[in-house]
């Protein structure tokens, strides 16, 4: 015998599981908060490092001949220090934004999943009532 309430609940849950947001939330829900944040921060660090390397490469190639001519004249230690400071600032800003975005996303995913698990429990109780 078909139970209308159960069918509605299952349809709603299947729709949530199939939606991009649902899939993403289920994936996020598999992690502990600290693990999720650490993974995202690592990915961001990799991204920002690659981007910084790309931009630094362009900066060097922008005036490559001058750079090569002055290579032995400039204070290399000060230059490297300057580059590291720029990298640190860029990475810091990007990692801080990543932390804020991912914290918000994790909290939101958990909130949505709580509702989803509540529906799952309700579905289970509907099955128990019938059998």
């Amino acid at each position: 015998m078909l139970n209308e309430e159960r069918v509605i609940l299952m349809t709603r849950m299947a729709s949530y599981e199939g939606s991009p947001e649902g899939r993403r939330n289920v994936k996020i829900g598999n992690y502990f908060r600290s693990d999720y944040l650490a993974l995202q921060l690592l990915k961001s660090l990799a991204s920002v490092t690659i981007c910084f390397a790309v931009i630094f490469g362009l900066y060097i190639f922008y005036d490559f001949e001058d750079f090569m001519q002055n290579l032995y004249e400039i204070d290399l230690v000060a230059f490297v220090k300057k580059v590291i400071i720029y990298y640190g600032v860029a990475a810091g800003v990007y990692l801080a934004s990543t932390y804020a975005v991912c914290t918000y996303r994790y909290a939101k995913a958990k909130r949505d999943l709580k509702n989803y698990y509540h529906n799952l429990k309700k579905l289970n109780s509907l099955y128990d009532e019938q059998f």
Partner: protein, 360 residues
Amino acid sequence: MTDLLEIREKIKLFYSKYEVFLLPVIKFLIAFITLNALNGKMGYMVRLDNMAVVLIAALACSFLPVGCIVLFTTLFSLLHMYALSMEVALVGFCFYMVIYLLFFRFAPRDSLVIVLTPLLFSLRIPYVMPIVVGLVCGPASAVSVGCGVGVHYLLQTVTDNSSAINTMGEDDLSGKLRLMIDGLLGNREMLVIAASFAITVLVVYLIRRMSIDHAWTIAMVSGALLNIVILLIGDLIYDINISVVGALLGSLLALAAAKVVEFFRFCVDYSRTEKVQFEDDEYYYYVKAVPKMSVAMSTKTVKKISSQYERGTAAQTRGGGSGSRGYGNQQKHRGESGHTTPAGQGASGRGRKPLDFEEY
């Protein structure tokens, strides 16, 4: 208004019925128009500037995920840049890489915005983008629109400097790089437009989320005005020669487009707004409920005239009575028994064939 609402319901019904076919067609059209516009704008690689190649790529995009439109567009533009000069392609590759690595890791769903923004620029209606995106997407899309503006100006820089790049020698690597990077970083117009579009997206988003009547309309009008004001201020400060008439006309067009989006996404009746207040153990709730505007679809009743009736009438006629008499008898019987077919049930109301003469 009722007619419009009815048309909207019909369009929604049609879309939901044929979504499986319509979605690939829409993706195909977006990819086809975008790649064609790109080929028209750049077209340095002769092999790519070919209708057959564009059609194949657009067809592939039609059944692949939406992100593939972005991928194909990026590939096409990079190949055109490479045909012009390897250094130009290098700058383009770095630009795309920074955008994808830093931003689209967080908002992959906004990737279409980065394709549509340059497309609308080439169609000369860029002002539609920030207002519509502010109405439909979230605040993070402000960065997407900004990146889209950046991509447009990257392509613009390439096309503007193409003749200069062609005249440069093969060995002038840093000269070409310098030309491209200076063209991008020194482009004040790009910065002003990117800033004005991003601020407009945020303002439109914030106002349309407010709990005020006609929030969407207020959001789109104030967004359009703010956009013009920022552009004018930018024009005054940096002297970037933005066409004021073009901006005004573009904003009017943007308002019209935004009204269409509003009609499909947020058509509500503020005259029937209800405000209720209740509480539970933990909270007080102040709820404002605004009903959606909708109309019931008019249903068509198709009345089928059974061929058995004709045969029965003919039989009656042959049996001695006239056709008209036979029908008249039937009507009389039906009138006496009170058996009428309810509207909407069609000819098979109550499981009978009402015009089946043999039953009477």
